[in-house]
């Protein structure tokens, strides 16, 4: 499974949880470790689930509602598991005037999902970003963490097509 839900009882054995615990320890278990810890969880598990938020709240001795408030304030964090692949369309200014909205429209129509959603077959998650600083290559799209510049609706659809049929 790509994104197993973090299980409470295995927090000391799972390598990923050891990493999370190490982050909190390095920050002396202080409240200011919260965002750094959430980053590590998201990186290890792909998203933040409620169980993980609860664990962090207890470990850093923070109110549950405050942890939830922080996790939902920052758009980099996701409370939903992502699909196998992620496609992030940049909607920064340079990309916008270079036609990123046409790309986004095409992807939405073709995948039948909107931003921050995952296709029903769990293959592709569609996200948007506010400028990745690749304005010189607008419009930019990030496929599974790799930035590609000077994209067109057709070239984006080609990549998505490869993903969707890769193990058919």
């Amino acid at each position: 499974m790509a994104n197993p839900s973090p299980v409470k009882s295995e927090k000391s054995e799972d390598r990923r949880w050891r990493l999370v615990n190490r982050t909190m320890r390095m920050h002396g278990g202080r409240p200011d470790a919260l965002i750094e810890t959430l980053h590590v969880i998201q990186e290890s598990f792909g998203y933040l689930d409620l169980d993980a938020l609860k664990y962090v709240a207890q470990s850093l001795r923070l109110p549950l509602s405050r942890v939830y408030g922080v996790a939902t304030f920052y758009h980099f964090f996701s409370l939903k598991p992502p699909g196998e692949h992620t496609c992030v369309v940049c909607t920064g200014t340079a990309c916008y005037i270079a036609g990123s909205s046409a790309i986004l429209k095409q992807v939405r129509e073709d995948l039948g999902i909107s931003e921050n959603q995952t296709t029903p077959d769990n293959k592709v998650s569609l996200l948007t970003a506010r400028c990745m600083g690749s304005c010189g290559l607008a419009p930019a799209v990030v496929f599974d963490g790799e930035v590609k510049g000077k994209m067109t609706p057709a070239s984006v659809m080609a990549q998505l097509g490869r993903w969707r049929h890769d193990d058919d």
Binding site: I35, G69, V70, T93, A94, I97, R130, C135, G136, V147
Partner: protein, 550 residues
């Protein structure tokens, strides 16, 4: 422990080592070129060098941004001073073949073009020259010498004084005099103080901080350390966007290597001075560029700004005096200490001293990073350096300062780019993003774009920004969809005035700027939308609707 002699030895050895190579091939490995596969190009070149057994003759080095992102991947050949553009993996063999002979004409990118000739590099002086992951390479370009000078040969007051004399102003947006900020923090009482580097480059269309951090991270660290010496701080934070993974990696590497050499960390240069720097990652919130919100975020809280005063200079991180400057501001510090505040003040115009790095993007031929003296005109930037508008279409507007800035029309082309002139025209310097737009862009739609940005980035704490931006957005959306009425323009005016004057922080106070500036300079476009329900640039959705209906 490091002495100045050891520092100079490291630099000299590195220089000698590099000069020992007859040919040095610099491959840009900053994010722009990396996304055009420059990493593979570098691998191919390295493989080719070893295949030919030229390791002792020819060095292949990954360097930071060479500037002209639109022509990437860029490769420069030193010491010949040849620049290649659009290099592909298959070109590796030809490049090695040509070393020592005449350059390959099909790849050559003229360094004589205005894009390179018109630049004046202070902040970017090492970009494209040094290996960003090598502290030795930085030291070979006089790196950390300014820190030594500040720490061993000057008093903290003298350091602050040089920054005051330089006339340097904050490069992050508002242009607050850096020397004044340093003076305030230096005067603040207490033994615990912080230096924070704002690297939360959130303006869409701005990527100079990213490039500096990716290309020359030690310069920023050195600037921060000098600031710490000057104001008496011993802890530092770099608040960096998580959206810039490469910059995060490079600055972390830089901190580790600088600590190992003893130029950052404990007892720097055999003194009692210590400076401990940590990286904190942002998490996708534009408002965290506002200093009080940034501090809240470092403390692990929601990035909501708080009313000022008290200012962070007196009451910052965990209540301690905190100096916050932007990446580019810190990048200017080492040269100022090395060459003196008066030298810096001799560059630029009026109250805007030194140079400014601009990120050139949009409908312009050459996109990328440029550094020019303050006061350079827009015409020089767009038509000479930028090479003019793509497809030689007509220039319509330039957007500066990101979502807090404004759109300026053609008649400002000869305006000098400095803090005062930009503010007078209804825009701001901001962090330095310049988006050039041609006649195909609809100004109402651009205003709608920016307001949507501010609406989704508003933290929601104060009522005018939270609700006001939503109301402005709804009105603009209606107008761009052809549902606007003439009275909507009055409503927009009123809402913008309200949000601008009553919001809690800079985000809300400047959010209406794109609307106000486009209404001021392109009112006829608004009127075409509200009175005739047409979009003169055919960019708005109503035209799409019309076409679809046909």
């Amino acid at each position: 422990m490091m002495t100045i002699e050891e520092l100079q030895d490291i630099g000299r050895l590195e220089k000698e080592k590099q000069e020992g190579f007859r040919h040095r091939i610099h491959v840009c490995v900053a994010a722009g070129c990396l996304s055009c596969q420059s990493g593979l190009v570098k691998d191919a070149l390295e493989k080719e060098v070893s295949r030919r057994g030229l390791e002792s003759w020819c060095q292949v080095k990954g360097v930071g941004c060479l500037g002209l992102c639109s022509a990437g991947p860029l490769v420069s050949i030193e010491p010949d001073g040849v620049l290649y553009k659009g290099v592909e993996v298959s070109d590796a063999s030809d490049i090695l073949e040509s070393l020592g002979g005449s350059p390959i004409s099909r790849l050559e990118c003229s360094l004589e073009q205005p894009f390179f000739r018109k630049r004046e590099k202070i902040v970017l002086e090492n970009c494209g020259k040094i290996d960003p992951e090598s502290v030795e390479d930085y030291i070979s370009e006089n790196g950390y010498e300014a820190l030594y000078t500040a720490l061993r040969l000057m008093t903290p007051n003298e350091v602050v004084d040089q920054v005051v004399r330089s006339g340097l102003r904050g490069r992050g947006g508002a242009g607050f005099p850096t020397g004044l900020k340093w003076t305030t923090v230096a005067k603040a009482g207490g033994s615990i103080k912080f230096v924070v580097c704002n690297a939360d480059e959130g303006d869409p269309g701005a990527f100079m901080d990213r490039s500096v951090l990716e290309s020359d991270p030690h310069r920023v660290l050195e600037g921060m350390a000098i600031a710490a010496v000057a104001v008496g701080a011993s802890y530092g934070f770099i608040y960096l966007r998580a959206e810039y993974p490469l910059a995060v990696k490079r600055i972390r590497t830089a901190i580790a290597r600088a600590e190992r050499l003893g130029v950052i960390g404990h007892n720097i240069f055999n003194t009692t001075f210590s400076f401990d720097v940590k990286v904190r990652l942002g998490a996708g919130a534009f408002v965290c560029g506002e200093e009080t919100a940034l501090l809240a975020s470092i403390e692990g809280r929601r990035g909501s700004p708080r009313p000022r005063p008290p200012y962070p200079a007196e009451h910052g991180l965990w209540g301690y005096p905190t100096l916050i400057n932007n990446v580019e501001t810190f990048a200017n510090i080492a040269p100022i200490i090395r060459k003196g505040g008066d030298w810096f003040a001799s560059i630029g115009v009026g109250k805007s001293k030194g140079t400014k790095v601009f990120a050139l993007a949009g409908h312009v031929k050459n996109t990328g990073l440029i550094e020019v003296p303050m006061g350079t005109s827009l015409r020089v930037i767009i038509y000479e350096i930028g090479g003019g508008i793509q497809g030689d279409r007509r220039f319509k507007a330039v957007q500066s300062g990101g979502p807090s800035g404004g759109c300026l029309p053609e008649r400002f082309l000869d305006m000098s780019m400095d803090y005062e002139s930009l503010a007078q025209a209804g825009s701001i310097m901001g962090s330095g993003g310049l988006i050039i737009m041609d006649e195909s862009s609809c100004m109402v739609d651009v205003a709608r774009f920016f307001v949507e940005f501010c609406m989704t980035e508003s933290c929601g704490k104060c009522a005018p920004c939270r609700i006001g931006t939503a109301q402005i957005y709804n009105t603009l959306k209606k107008i761009t969809e052809g549902e606007g009425k003439p009275s909507d323009l009055e409503l927009l005016d009123e809402l913008c005035d309200l949000v601008k004057n009553t919001s809690l922080c800079g985000l809300g106070q400047t959010a209406p700027n794109p609307v106000l500036s486009t209404m001021k300079y392109f009112l006829n476009e608004y009127k075409a939308h509200t009175d005739d329900h047409t979009c003169p640039s055919c960019a708005c959705r109503m035209n799409n609707h019309a076409e679809e209906q046909k």
